[in-house]
């Protein structure tokens, strides 16, 4: 069944070409996009099932065997990320169709939107499936270029300003990544991840550290890790709500995925673990303090997004199986919840006319449905039991306590503090936007069903994570143990014999 592996990349790209040709037929465009993304979701589920029962699914593109050709590899981690990202992109697509119909496409020229959105999906899936560093770079570039277009869509002055910052910072991180690739190739003579495992081990310590640091720097910018995170809250909030939602859910997580992949496979037990822990702590605390100071819901959510990346670094930096498994669980939770919250923010903007907290009020009375749609994921994000945010944070705290080091305890404390401050930040939004007397100038009207539907689906999906937390944690645990072993990955690519 390995022929399934390239499909999550090929189908969206093919769909992008089709929708581009149908620029004048919005209805046909919608049909194609929805079909393609539904198919991607189904294939991803099949890949997750196969990688769990039969082990990693590998395909050598064009029949050229590794290490000469390019391999795509769907192991459990990659397949799990594929499933979640496909589900999220599908929901956001339905939401954006609903919004486009409601708004009359004034700010989002529909003919470009669908192809670009599908290209973005292809980039994300390609990055997850990539079996060599250069293909990972190409995946990053595909999704970044698509994201530049989506972020500046419509070309209003605000979006151009925000887009400029985003584009320049992203370009810089790409240059750093490419430099790292050049250096790694010069040092080892290969870019195939499975082959790099042995060859990097043979390098002198200092050289390995430099290569590791360069990769971490490149991925750290993409993942919005604290000293490199200030671009994110400036650029995300100006985009249309569905675009911000899908960016918040997926783009930073692709960076985190790349960190997990390279840290476990290429540089296990390196000295950079301490760096990950320290930056993780700073990301959590500084991010959430930024969120507390904001007076706009979208900006506030952007800061919580940055802050919660810290939890993921915490799990990866512990370099234990429990830590890694919790981080994988937390990624799944965080992709879902952060996307849901941004979609809910879009609904607030639709109903209340703004996302600025001083212009809102009384939404709980005006639209009880909206109140539920915001409150459930908000409590989930803050880590209130029994939601998945609590389970993920509990796993991380357990992993931190099991580690027992001073730094680990500091992170446990920082994590709990961040969780509390997150609760404070979302409770503040609740108090100001949903309680109080309604503002006089707030528009009236109903929310479009096509926007409420997908948001509700994601709210339920996020809350439902609690019910499948056991099996999901098992998948995360298995994925973590294969990641820690490394030999499984190499065997999957080379079929037992090393080249």
């Amino acid at each position: 069944m390995t022929w399934l592996v390239p499909l999550p990349v090929v189908m969206p790209l093919f769909g992008a070409a089709l929708t581009l040709m149908m620029a004048r037929k919005p209805r046909a465009q919608r049909t194609v996009s929805l079909t393609v993304l539904t198919a991607t979701l189904l294939v991803s589920c099949a890949l997750l099932y196969l990688s769990t029962t039969e082990g990693a699914q590998v395909v050598a593109v064009g029949g050229w065997a590794a290490p000469l050709g390019i391999v795509l590899i769907a192991d459990q981690l990659a397949a799990l990320m594929l499933v979640v990202s496909a589900a999220v992109t599908l929901c956001v697509l339905v939401y954006s169709i609903g919004q486009g119909m409601a708004d009359g496409h004034e700010e989002t020229p529909l003919s470009v939107y669908h192809p670009t959105y599908l290209v973005l999906t292809a980039g994300v899936t390609n990055a997850f499936l990539a079996g060599d560093l250069f293909n990972l770079y190409v995946g990053f570039e595909i999704l970044l270029v698509a994201s530049y277009v989506l972020l500046t869509i419509g070309g209003t002055e605000n979006r151009i300003r925000a887009g400029s910052t985003y584009v320049v910072v992203s370009l810089l991180s790409s240059v750093i990544f490419l430099t790292a690739i050049g250096l790694i190739y010069a040092a080892t003579g290969t870019l195939n991840l499975a082959q790099l495992v042995d060859r990097l081990d043979a390098l002198p310590d200092g050289l390995r550290l430099i290569l590791q640091a360069m990769l971490l720097l490149a991925f750290g910018i993409k993942a919005a890790v604290f000293p490199l995170s200030s671009w994110l809250p400036d650029s995300y909030p100006t985009a249309p709500a569905p675009v911000t939602a899908v960016f918040a859910g997926l783009l930073t997580k692709v960076g985190v995925y790349a960190i997990i992949r390279t840290e476990t496979l290429l540089f296990p037990g390196g000295r950079a673990a301490v760096v990950l822990l320290v930056t993780g702590l700073l990301t959590m605390v500084v991010g959430i303090l930024g969120a507390v100071a904001q007076s706009d819901i979208k900006r506030l959510l952007s800061f919580t997004l940055v802050s919660h990346i810290g939890y993921l670094l915490f799990g990866v930096g512990l370099t234990t199986q429990l830590g890694l498994a919790s981080a994988i669980f937390y990624v799944v939770h965080h992709i879902t919840i952060q996307t849901t919250l941004f979609l809910a923010a879009g609904l607030i903007e639709k109903r209340g006319g703004s996302t600025a907290l001083d212009k809102l009020g009384g939404l709980a009375k005006l639209s009880p449905v909206l109140a539920v749609l915001f409150l459930v994921p908000a409590l989930n994000l803050a880590g209130i039991p029994p939601f998945s945010g609590f389970i993920g944070k509990l796993g991380l705290v357990q992993a931190g306590v099991a580690d027992g080091g001073v730094l680990a305890w500091l992170l446990v404390g920082g994590g709990i503090l961040t969780s509390l401050l997150t609760l404070y930040a979302v409770a503040r939004v609740w108090n100001l936007a949903f309680w109080r007397t309604p503002h006089k100038s707030m528009p009236t009207g109903r929310l479009p069903a096509l926007m409420v539907g997908p948001t509700l689906a994601l709210v339920l999906f996020g809350a439902g994570l609690t019910f499948v937390a056991g099996p999901l944690f098992d998948v995360g645990d298995q994925a973590a143990s294969t990641l820690m072993e490394r030999s499984g990955y190499v065997e999957a690519v080379f079929g037992g014999g090393t080249p």
Binding site: E141, S164, G182, A186, D234, L432
Partner: protein
Amino acid sequence: MTPNLVYIVVIGVLFAAGVSMVLERSLTRVLMGMILLGNGVNLLILLGGKAGTPPIVGLGPDEEMADPLPQIMILTAIVITLGMTAFLLALAYRSWAMSGHDEVQDDVEDRRIMQLAERDQGSGIDDVDHGVNR
């Protein structure tokens, strides 16, 4: 290719000039900086492979062939840089059309919150109920 001083100095100069241009406010300068950086990286990748005869089977002994992989990677990187150059140019032009210049501005909301912090004030939204104003 065996690293020689000329290559290394050229790469160094390209990187240094590129970085200093990227730090400018004007998008056009940033764009030029990115092009310089991109060329520096391409040369760096080229240094990573072996130099030699064209890598086509039958043209010469296998041991003397150049390593084609870095060249392929550079081709890909050049294509990506080309696309990005076009996009940045469009962005700079749009910025010029909208606001009369192509300088990247500070975030408005950031500046507002910073001013509040300097005056040591809250944003005030936490204490006002709209009902009171009515």
